[in-house]
């Protein structure tokens, strides 16, 4: 399945506080469950997820086994200038997931008419 999906508000003005939503596709195996043959399923959770904006870290999470599969991360940022959001996460199997997404910040006095 695909790796992750991201959601930002359609229009972000300078100075706005806006919500970033990231849905990551991950089984988040807790290590406590057994499969159909009664063998333990090895623990595999996302250990660390970071978000950098223009190479400055703006968000970090360290989930554990208490977090369900396909976790949703939500946090707020203040819009200063346009750039690139870069998400990176590592799980117990040392698999690395990445997502890059452009961030467009419009000047504070932009008209409220929707784009085109």
């Amino acid at each position: 399945m695909s790796n992750a999906r991201i959601q930002l508000p359609p229009r972000i003005l300078e100075g706005d506080v806006f919500k970033v939503r990231l849905l990551v596709n991950h089984p988040m195996d807790s290590g406590f469950l057994r499969d159909i043959n009664h063998a333990l399923i090895k623990r595999n959770v996302i250990r660390q997820l970071t978000c950098t904006l223009n190479s400055q870290e703006v968000f970090r999470a360290e989930p554990t086994t208490g977090v369900a599969a396909n976790p949703l991360f939500e946090f707020h940022l203040r819009a200063v200038k346009s750039g690139e959001l870069y998400f990176r996460w590592v799980d117990d199997n040392a698999n690395i997931g990445e997502l890059r997404h452009p961030l467009t910040v419009l000047p504070a006095n932009s008209s409220t008419a929707p784009k085109s």
Partner: protein, 271 residues
């Protein structure tokens, strides 16, 4: 002489009617709906507030979101010896596949078999894309079916049960009313006669097929209607048919006819 002829004709007429009428009667009873169309309810109506919330609150963080994304990727991905993607022939899914999943299962013209949506995609992949078909219930099969489903969101179910589909419809209807398994139950006993009442801690639904492939919380995964039907079979301790068995397609056709007019739900969540 003339009177004799008339009586002779009347005799044959009555005999003929006698032969025809039982058949007419059968047809009428087959069309009789156990649940009137205006009382049809999606499985969502029998779900708890929490499950309703999971389905309705937010499409972005929907439990099926990754499946939908993957389906969209597969739609545009070239594959097989033809090196074509679904989009190469069909274009945008929202245009070309509009209403398609609301009209399946349907008879395949080439083979004369009853195909559900998964079968149709498998065949298209094999015949036109010249690629190995995805196994039923594989991630790919579920994802692409879900993606095609999104084009029919909110559209009413309407299947064709005439012509070559009629015998499948009859067989599906018969199966629906047949008691089977160690519990000796038929579909109708729960889903027509007892819906709305509780089975253990859950409300029995009408068994409507309008949201598949669903995300099922019990399995923590996407699931096709066939998998759900197999689960029902197992629950009444009935013998499971092979995957893709025509019985399952017949039953699916009957269920879709029974759900005529219910809107397609995408993405759907069930417990």
């Amino acid at each position: 002489m003339n009177l004799g002829r008339q009586m002779f004709a009347a005799f044959w007429l009555i005999l003929g009617l006698g032969l025809i009428l039982p058949d007419l009667h059968n047809t009428a009873s087959a069309q009789q709906r156990q649940i009137p169309l205006d009382q049809l309810q999606s499985g969502l109506a029998f779900s708890s507030q929490e499950v309703k919330g999971l389905q309705l609150d937010d499409d972005f963080s929907s439990l099926s979101a990754h499946g939908i994304d993957k389906g969209a990727q597969l739609w545009n991905k070239a594959a097989g010896n033809s090196n074509k993607s679904c989009a190469s022939c069909h274009g945008e899914v929202t245009d070309s596949m509009k209403g398609v999943s609301a009209s399946y299962p349907a008879i395949d013209k080439a083979t004369g078999k009853l195909f559900n949506l998964e079968d149709r995609i498998r065949q298209c992949r094999q015949k036109n894309q010249k690629a190995p078909p995805w196994a039923l219930e594989s991630d790919e099969s579920l994802a692409i079916t879900l993606h095609v489903n999104t084009a029919s969101k909110g559209m009413p179910i309407k299947v064709n049960i005439e012509g070559a589909a009629q015998k499948h419809f009859r067989a599906g209807e018969k199966l629906y009313f047949t008691r089977q398994g160690q519990l000796n139950l038929s579909c109708t006993q729960c889903h027509d006669q007892q819906y709305g009442r509780r089975l253990f801690n859950d409300k029995l639904s009408q068994g409507q097929p309008n949201g598949y492939p669903i995300y099922r919380l019990d399995w923590q995964y996407l699931a096709s209607l066939e998998r759900r039907l197999r689960f029902c079979y197992a629950s009444i301790r009935a013998e499971l048919p092979a995957w893709g068995h025509v019985d399952m397609r017949n039953l699916e056709l009957y269920l879709k006819w029974r759900a005529e007019g219910l809107p397609i739900e995408v993405p759907a969540v069930r417990k």
